[in-house]
């Protein structure tokens, strides 16, 4: 995996109906590094992340993730974690049990993985017994991030991870992402907050600079 860049996007074209959203987009995220795409709403950041995650088919162009096609294979999803889609939570399972389920599925020991510490760090210590649908949108966002960072992965694709977090929460998440990069992981995020992006250790780029032509 380390022989290839984490993400390589070339000449990507995506449109909704007759409206082009991504035109000739080119992007490389080297393995072990982070890139943060910034830009105003509606410019196509989430669409780009969805295509890189293999959750949306582009009209044209190539996308390689660790040298392979992004897609629905279990190998891909063992290496990649994305938060571009909100999860559907399991019925009758608490927030802590969701985290434990994901850790155990990846062969981690729940105690060693530090589930309780992670939930506490994300301000969810008092909500471990809550079912996720009963949490606020900010708490759900933090739970998704906590689970995404708990399980092993090689690439994180995060869509506006700073959203619905207070200032302290943003600083904590940025620090965790920075640790993730130091641990050898790769990062592709879309964000509105350049301070957050800098703190997370990701290189900032704009959608305009990635695009061959402004849509």
């Amino acid at each position: 995996m380390v022989d290839h860049p984490a993400v390589e996007v070339d000449d990507l074209h995506v449109g909704y109906g007759s409206t082009p959203v991504l035109v000739g987009v080119k992007l490389t995220v080297p393995a072990g590094e982070g890139v943060c795409v910034v830009g105003e709403n509606g410019i196509g950041k989430s669409t780009l992340l969805r295509c890189v995650s293999g959750l949306q088919q582009p009209d044209q162009g190539t996308i390689r993730v660790f040298g392979g096609d992004p897609g629905a294979t279990p190998e891909f999803w063992r290496a990649v974690v994305t938060t571009v889609e909100p999860p559907t939570w399991y019925p009758g399972l608490t927030a802590r049990e969701h985290a434990e389920l994901v850790c155990r599925a990846h062969g981690q020991d729940p105690e060693e993985a530090g589930i309780d510490e992670a939930l506490e760090r994300f301000g969810l210590a008092g909500h471990t017994d809550a079912i996720p649908p009963s949490l606020s949108s900010g708490q759900k966002q933090r739970l998704v991030l906590a689970i995404a960072l708990l399980r092993p992965s090689s690439l994180l694709i995060l869509d506006e991870p700073e959203q619905r977090l207070d200032r302290e929460g943003r600083a904590d998440v940025a620090s965790l992402l920075s640790d993730y990069l130091e641990g050898g992981g790769s990062l592709l995020i879309a964000s509105h907050d350049e301070t957050f992006a800098v703190a997370s250790g990701a290189a900032i780029t704009t959608m305009e600079s990635l695009s061959a032509g402004t849509p």
Binding site: T73, P74, G92, R104
Partner: protein, 498 residues
Amino acid sequence: MTAVPLAPVRRWISRTQSSHRERGATLSSLYVGLLSVAIIGGILHRQLAAVFWPSAPNASALAGASLVAVCYGLLYLALRRFGPLALSRPAASWLLPAPVSRRRLLLPSLRIAGFTAALLGALAAVAIVGHVAPRARVGDEVALLTVGGALIGLALLLVAAAAQAGGRWGDAVDTIAGLAFAAGLVGLVTATTLDSPVGVTDWPPAGTLVPVVAGVFVVVVVVLALVVRGLARTPSDRILDASRTAGTLFDTAFGVEPSFLTDMIERRYWARRRLRSTRLSSRLPILIAQDLLLAVRRRRRLLWLALATVLPVLLGSAPGWVLGAAVLLGCLFAGLTATGNARTDAGNPVMLRLLGMTSREAVFQRLWVPGVLAGVWAALALTALDLLGDLPSGPWWALGLTLGPVGAAAAVHRARVGFVRNELLPLDTPMGTLSTGPLVNAVMGPDLLLLGVPAWIAIGQGSLSWTTVLLQGVIGVAGARVYLAGTTSLERTELSAG
């Protein structure tokens, strides 16, 4: 705050809505509705007569008393589940927060619910009397008992409406109604196994019934007045909940999409529960441990399932093939009690992607708990039939256990079905156009019960050998394996392509 008169607002809404409809659309809907009822009534009149007024009484006193508990217990539980007071979704959005009289806003809903409850109560009374009363007693007593049934229906509605507005005592009444319903079912099964004399000869005369019914009438009127007086105190959140239920019910009916209703009931159930995080069993594969935890957390559902093992006894006198079909369907329902997680995975694979599992591994693990439930349920049901003499002696318990894989495959297949595909081509039949989407959706799941054909034949013929048990075991396991291999892959995570 001054309340705005509600009647002119409602008149304006009704006038504006009708101006957007085609001329005569309401009359046309009414005509089609009445015609449908007349046609269905004409087609099913023999079956309806058998249900409500058989040619001779055919149930014992115990069965009659049990039917009372079953019918009225179910009526109360249904009233509570659907409100009983609800507003349409637009009214809940626009009129509930408006400065209008809450009592006047809810009165039409109370009227409709009252009419429905009284009608259902009266119909239940007619059916119960029809099954147990000697035919010489048609006349005043039957009329009085029917009125009494309608009044009981009304009384149950009033209790349900008070429980909707009231505190925690409503939950206690729900439990009592549930217990009455369960006791009624047990009574029905017991009545089937006993050779009690059919019909009740010792009926109270009209002279005794008149004051009783009049007394109940007075009580109902007084309670009705109290409920109407207290209508304004019904909390908004309860009305909003009931309105969402009513709206979802309409969506389910018009979209022919039962999952809308089942999903809402499931969401609401878990929202009310207070859970404590527990460690998932490390001895079991992770998804089996999760399914097991979910099943254990719904203990009441498991109790109902255990109670339902004696229900096939009610069909003891029915043709063998009906009994066999009932046992197979029971397996499906037993398995379905543990497929909530499979349904979540099929609806949205986000969690499966986070888990990084192949669809084959996931479905394989998801089959186990439904399989155990289906197998144990069938073993208990067939043992009960064996012990009560509805089946000749044989290794029926073993046949039940071999139905586990059949119930598991059918239940998981059903859980993976997803939404009704309304884009499928409709079929033109002499009776009219038939929408195929709901039909295809309805048979997915039950179709895999065909793997239980050896058991069906054995129950139908009333003879069982160990060879049949072995054959059923082999077909069940092989069928489940073929289902797993044919509908999953080692190369994808999504389950929906079942």
